[in-house]
Amino acid sequence: MSSDVGQQHPLGIYYKIWVLLFVLSGFSYAVDYFHVEGALRWFLVILFMTLKAGFIVAIFMHVVWERLALVWTILGPPIVLLVLIGFMAIEGNYTEGTRYQYRGDDPTLQPLSPSDLHHDEATSASANEH
């Protein structure tokens, strides 16, 4: 195959995908900006992530135009990784459960935010320096 007949496609499709990726990133950021929480947050973030990843791989990395011999070499092994992710999720949930059950850790603890800590910033900053 000579270089002149490599992956050559009209420019229009790149511009369209480019704009689409911006829009999808904007949506992802909007999920955080408007404080969407709970299951809907997970659903939307993972949906936009999957769409973005799909368009990058399919169009920018030209996978839709490759022959299946290469496509399955690329996509097959990562699909197997889903098994690892699934196992680790099950295992992690179990470990967390045993820690609450047998170590008596407090499940109601809340994280601190930077604003919780900033009121004593002056004292802690000087303390850190010494």
Partner: protein, 224 residues
């Protein structure tokens, strides 16, 4: 438009898959450099998946509360605290660079060396600005007391994951910037005039992969 790349006389689809693998010939109908880049990217996928799966596991198992990313990565702009704003800007920069790289690949195959060179330089500069912002973000978190082994906000694992995952991704971006500049310079000097411009597509694959990894980090580490 959606058809597979044509091979003289070979069937497409699943029969083509069987024939490519079963015939006594080269299995992949692409330049060897491109096939090798894909093999490398698949192995790199495994590395990043291991990191993100490790993150999944420590985040699930820790009984300490996970720090609130939206507040930790907020910046004060014009007297207002804007959540995750730096990360959003970094995301948009990386997507912009992916777009300019896709155009560089296209102009490379059109043998427009000037446009290819400048688009690759723009891509590299955007990548460099991404690394700069990441350095700023690291500095800010280190000043706030975040360390790989502890942080003032909640679960200690937050710091480990943050430095390892963003650090490894930042190294990939830095490597990509150097790679793109080397290839761009060789294009300008005419090293590929006889050989052809697949090298731009190969470099582009690496760059898009770096953007792709960021899509997952942005979703799982910063948003969820």
């Amino acid at each position: 438009m959606m058809s597979e790349s044509a091979v003289d006389g070979a069937p497409s689809g699943v029969p083509g898959l069987v024939e490519d693998w079963a015939s006594d010939k080269q299995a992949y109908n692409v330049p060897w450099g491109k096939a090798m880049m894909w093999i490398f990217l698949v192995s790199d996928t495994f590395i990043f998946t291991c990191f993100l799966t490790g993150y999944l596991n420590v985040r699930l198992t820790t009984t300490e509360p996970w720090p609130l990313q939206t507040e930790i990565f907020a910046l004060t702009l014009f007297g207002q605290s804007v959540p995750l704003v730096l990360i959003a800007i970094m995301t948009f920069i990386l997507i912009t660079s992916s777009g300019s790289m896709a155009l560089a690949v296209n102009f490379g195959y059109r043998r427009d060396k000037t446009k290819t060179f400048w688009l690759m330089v723009v891509t590299a500069l955007l990548g460099a600005s991404f690394v700069g912002m990441q350095a700023f973000e690291w500095t800010k978190l280190i000043q706030e007391g975040v360390r790989p082994w502890t942080n003032p906000f909640g679960a200690a694992q937050f710091g480990s994951v943050f430095f390892m995952v963003t650090g490894f991704h930042g190294l990939h971006v830095t490597g990509g910037v150097i790679y793109l500049l080397i290839v761009a310079n060789k294009i300008r000097k005419g090293h590929y005039d006889a050989k052809g411009f697949e090298i731009v597509e190969i470099a582009g694959l690496y760059w898009h992969f770096v953007d792709l990894v960021w899509v997952f980090i942005f979703a799982f580490f910063y948003l969820l």
